[in-house]
Amino acid sequence: MTNTLHRRGTPQTLRQDFVLFATPSRSLSPDLPDKMKRFTEICLRHNPLNMAKIENMAMRRVDPRRLKEEMQDQIGITAVFDNPDSLASAIAELKEADLGIPINVSGLLEQVKECCGKAGITRHSVEQSLGIFGKKEKLPPPEIVEINTLCGHGMVSFNLIKKVADEVKLGRMTPEQGAYLLAKPCECGAFNPVRARQVLEALRMKG
């Protein structure tokens, strides 16, 4: 899955958007549940905006406040941060914890590299988006696509984003309420509600 690879936005908005995730390979080590528990605890210490788990080989979005209690045999965890300092601290703690599981970050590459440098890590591999090819005329305005790509699987439909943007413009919904509703279809937990709220606010100002 390419999930968080194709997140779109300006460098300014991407500065508040990081997805930290652990994806152990299919060849699981016997002590993986303990390692994932420790990974989750480290993420929770740094106030993630959103989280999800892969449990029984299926994705489920979880309220970060309940994740600790709900932890069972999940084999993957995703956590979204909007603060580079939190990310840097989480990466440093993960290095210290030495869990031995593959850990990735989606975000502005230079910022992530900087966080790695602070923790004394040389990055292993990098993946980048080359953008969109094909019938781009099928796509809605960039702000709508920007929110759609916040979900790793594109579960937040263009029509829902347009509908919520209209509700916000009409004053029937606040940008916070709109962002909360837009996060609902995203089961992979990669959706960043803070960025969604900012886009909705910008669309409201635009009229």
Binding site: S106, C116, T122, S129, G131, G134, N159, L160, E167, C188
Partner: protein
């Protein structure tokens, strides 16, 4: 998705949640365009049932209308629980497997549409020095794709010296990875998106990207393309100069494998 016409009160709440815009309201009942529906079940998951009886809702609505009143219900409910995820048979079952991340993909045993790309490269070494990984995400963002269009792309790619990731669900659906052709019986099935994953020689990157771009113009959808490499000892990105030299600007954001994993015993 199926809609129980006896229960549906035509509130239209499910309409915007549909990832493919395949639901419309006709004569006060929601109707699904089965050809366009990708069975992602987003409408079902997001519009929880309120447990009301259809006769009660219809009666209330008539009363409100007579009194010139309007009631705006929350957007994320199905008042009568009229949405029914159907039991799917092959090949329609492929729609759900590729479009609903909350179910396990039978061919990979994982949720989602692809494999682990570079996310586990630190323990698998799947993409090594001098190699590049390419992900071609057809139907994304938000447009969807029929397997007939995916087949056009995989057959075009097979003409080059590419290696289709064997654990990718699409590779499982190929008659023969040598020529890239997909099974004929799935051609008219539509999915939210599907990812072709390739491993190529780094030097071949421009040729492959040109082909992907050219082939994409013939498809009735959009494609999001990504490229990955193992970093050099200083953390540099080998594909950067090749992509920009070939006229393909790279995103400023991306995925970074931190390299904190350790190979599991017995794993190549």
């Amino acid at each position: 998705m199926e809609i129980d016409a006896a229960k549906c009160v035509g509130c239209g709440n499910c309409v915007p949640f549909c990832t493919m815009g395949a639901i419309r309201v006709e004569n006060d009942v929601a109707v699904v365009n089965e050809d366009e529906c990708v069975e992602c079940s987003t409408c079902y998951r997001c519009c929880g049932p309120e447990g009301l009886r259809a006769t009660f809702v219809r009666g209330l609505r008539r009363l409100f209308r007579a009194l010139h009143l309007r009631y705006d219900a929350p957007l994320d409910v199905c008042p009568t629980g009229a949405l029914v995820p159907p039991e799917l048979k092959w090949p329609r079952s492929l729609r759900r497997a590729f479009s609903d991340p909350t179910v396990t993909h039978d061919s990979t045993g994982m949720a989602g549409r692809g494999t682990e790309e570079i996310k586990t490269n630190d323990i698998t070494g799947r993409i090594g020095p001098g190699e590049a990984g390419i992900v071609i995400d057809l139907g994304r963002p938000g447009t969807g794709v029929f397997f007939r269009d995916i087949d056009t792309m995989t057959r075009a790619l097979a003409q080059l010296d590419v290696f289709f990731e064997p654990q990718n669900p699409l590779t499982h659906l190929m008659n023969d990875p040598q020529n890239g052709s997909l099974r004929k019986d799935i051609a008219n099935e539509k999915v939210l998106s599907a990812i072709i994953e390739l491993k190529i020689k780094l030097a071949d990157l421009p040729e492959v990207l040109h082909l992907v771009e050219k082939t994409a113009t013939a498809l009735d959808t959009v494609i999001s393309v990504g490229v990955s490499t193992k970093c050099d000892p200083e953390g540099g990105i080998p594909h950067e100069s090749i992509c920009s030299g070939a006229g393909y600007p790279l995103s400023l954001n991306g995925k970074t494998n931190l390299g904190l994993g350790r190979p599991v015993e017995g794993m190549s």
